[in-house]
């Protein structure tokens, strides 16, 4: 019985899990969320707190408070929401320790919202055209990374760029592509 339940949770999308939990679901739902995102929370905490003990404690705190928070919030995209919660908790701790004076993220970041459902041949062409509108550095990185499936390391040595630059070129290139595509009605209608 228990086993069967877990399988169902395992198959449910995040948002359904959240709804089930809000309707008085079991703690196994928190376990399932941990399985899906525990490592992302831990990694993100590590990135901000730079100390594995602090990161572990913070991850613990975040999951401890998760049940309460889930019940109090209307959550549209769970992953973005959890990212925001994680980042805010870390920034609050850092601010308390006087290490940063960063603004706390209030809004969900829109960059992750693009989800394509169906792609037609013509849209590939649009996408290809959009890539050519990117700045040289971003275009090269995107092409090497997505089309030639090169690793960061390879791109770094091929383009003689710092790994951080490569990563941000890919990230920014992706964001810009999305903006270009969003401005093209034909593409938008298919989203």
């Amino acid at each position: 019985m228990l086993f069967r339940k877990r399988i169902t949770y395992h198959q449910l999308p995040d948002e359904d899990l959240v709804i089930r939990f809000q309707q008085g679901g079991a703690n196994e739902i928190i376990g399932e969320i941990y399985t899906r995102y525990g490592h992302l929370v831990m990694g993100t905490c590590m990135k901000y707190l730079k100390n594995s003990n602090d990161a572990e404690d913070m991850t613990m705190t975040i999951f401890e408070r998760l049940p309460e928070k889930l019940k109090d919030h209307t959550i549209e995209r769970f992953k973005s929401w959890l990212y925001m919660v994680t980042k805010n908790e870390c920034l609050m701790l850092l601010r308390k320790k006087g290490r940063v004076t960063l603004e706390i993220t209030k809004e969900l970041e829109a960059e992750d919202e693009l989800h394509l459902v169906e792609v037609k041949e013509v849209q590939y062409t649009l996408l290809e055209a959009a890539i050519h509108q990117l700045k040289e550095e971003q275009r090269l990185c995107i092409e090497l990374f997505y089309l030639e499936k090169r690793s960061y390391q390879e791109i770094t040595s091929l383009l003689k760029l710092d790994i951080k630059k490569v990563k941000s070129a890919i990230q920014n290139g992706k964001r810009n592509l999305k903006l270009i595509l969003e401005n093209q009605n034909e593409f938008k209608s298919a989203i």
Binding site: M46, K47, F63, V119
Partner: protein, 365 residues
């Protein structure tokens, strides 16, 4: 240009836990690219991967967290291991017990300290019941009757024992003959209630009807406040604890009544009364709650309020408290100054051959 690859720009799925480890191990550019694409799928994944780089991509740092949050990996393996360990330790224990007496003590001592430590690590959960926090205002306002006027728990339990002894010594109580019925002139039929002695249980040396035999899963509806969360010593400024909320819960009847009788025994009549009232909200005819609730009221000097509860004992389904309740009703009338009514009852008790007959006669002198 491979067009479908282009599409992966917006299509890659997020990082899984195993990807973190794989990335740390693998030098294959294709494998790395696949994981890096996942990393790029979302800023959450990207941030996390940066963090994991500082942790050398070693997910074992999460072992403590896993213990707390990860769902156990299927029951089978753990059960087998756990079962084997259990059987094994039992065998070892028996061997120790039979062969070496001394080491057993050591083993037991070690085990008990281990248990203590692990229980310390557990999150403290404090359960408060409604009667622990605040009593209903009418009860709060009551004042205890002078000590000499009270019926302490000790006396009640002593009388219970004496009644048992009394019944053993006078086994065959004469049964009153039924009044003859004139078939020519039948009187209105009298309702004979089903009033019998129920199974009893003694808790805190107090007599109780064991309702577990007569009710299906008896439970008392009450409110509990469950205090959980960060212990004060681990709390910091931004730990935002929410106020605990009262929750309606069903507590097993026997558990609830046992605690209530314990409180009664300690002489905390107000708190005990509020608990007996809670029982009566679920079971208005409960003889235990009516009887001990009545005694609480008696000891609080609320004689007129106590009488209906003792009367409920007499009219209820079980006769276990009949003698005591009848006596208490008479006492209540006497204490409240209604000597005429008290005398009527004392007389009726004295004319019978119950345990209180002698005392009733003394009262009438």
């Amino acid at each position: 240009m491979n067009l479908s690859r282009l599409y992966s720009i917006f299509q890659s799925s997020g990082l899984e836990r195993k990807d973190v480890e794989t990335y740390g191990r693998s030098t294959d550019p294709l494998v790395r690219n696949e994981i890096e694409q996942k990393e790029m799928s979302d800023s959450f994944d990207a941030d996390a991967m940066e963090g994991w780089e500082q942790l050398s991509y070693d997910p074992s740092v999460m072992s403590q967290l896993d213990k707390k949050y990860a769902p156990s990996t299927g029951p089978s393996l753990y059960k087998i291991i756990g079962g084997t360990a259990l059987v094994g330790s039992a065998v070892i224990a028996i061997l120790y017990f039979t062969v070496f007496q001394e080491p057993v003590k050591l083993l037991v001592a070690q085990k008990s300290t281990q248990k203590e430590v692990s229980s310390l690590k557990e999150e403290p959960v404090i359960v408060l019941e409604a009667s622990d926090v605040a009593l209903p205002a009418p009860i709060e306002r009551m004042k205890h009757a002078p000590k000499a006027e009270q019926v302490p728990a000790k006396q009640i339990s002593k009388e219970f024992q004496e009644i048992i002894q009394f019944r053993v010594e006078t086994p065959n109580l004469p049964v009153k003959p039924l009044p003859s019925v004139d078939p020519e002139n039948p009187t209105s039929p009298e309702i004979v209630r089903n009033h019998k002695e129920a199974k009893e249980i003694y808790l805190h040396s107090m007599k109780l009807v064991d309702y577990r035999k007569y009710r299906d899963k008896p439970q008392v509806k009450t409110k509990q406040l469950i205090l959980t969360g960060t212990p004060a010593n681990k709390e910091d400024e931004y730990s935002e604890e929410e106020d605990p909320v009262w929750k309606d819960v069903d507590v097993p009847y026997i558990e609830y009544i046992e605690k209530s009788v314990g409180i009664f025994e300690h002489g905390n009549y107000k708190k005990a009364l509020s608990r007996f009232q809670t029982v009566m909200e679920t079971y208005p005819d409960d003889v235990n709650a009516n009887f001990y609730g009545g005694i609480c009221l008696f000891n609080l000097g609320e004689y007129s309020k106590a009488i209906p509860h003792f009367e409920n004992c007499l009219s209820g389904a079980f006769s276990n408290f009949d003698e005591e309740a009848q006596w208490m009703i008479a006492e209540c009338y006497e204490k409240s100054g209604d000597t005429a009514k008290a005398k009527v009852i004392y007389r009726s008790i004295a004319s019978g051959n119950g345990f209180y007959a002698g005392q009733a006669k003394d009262k009438l002198k």
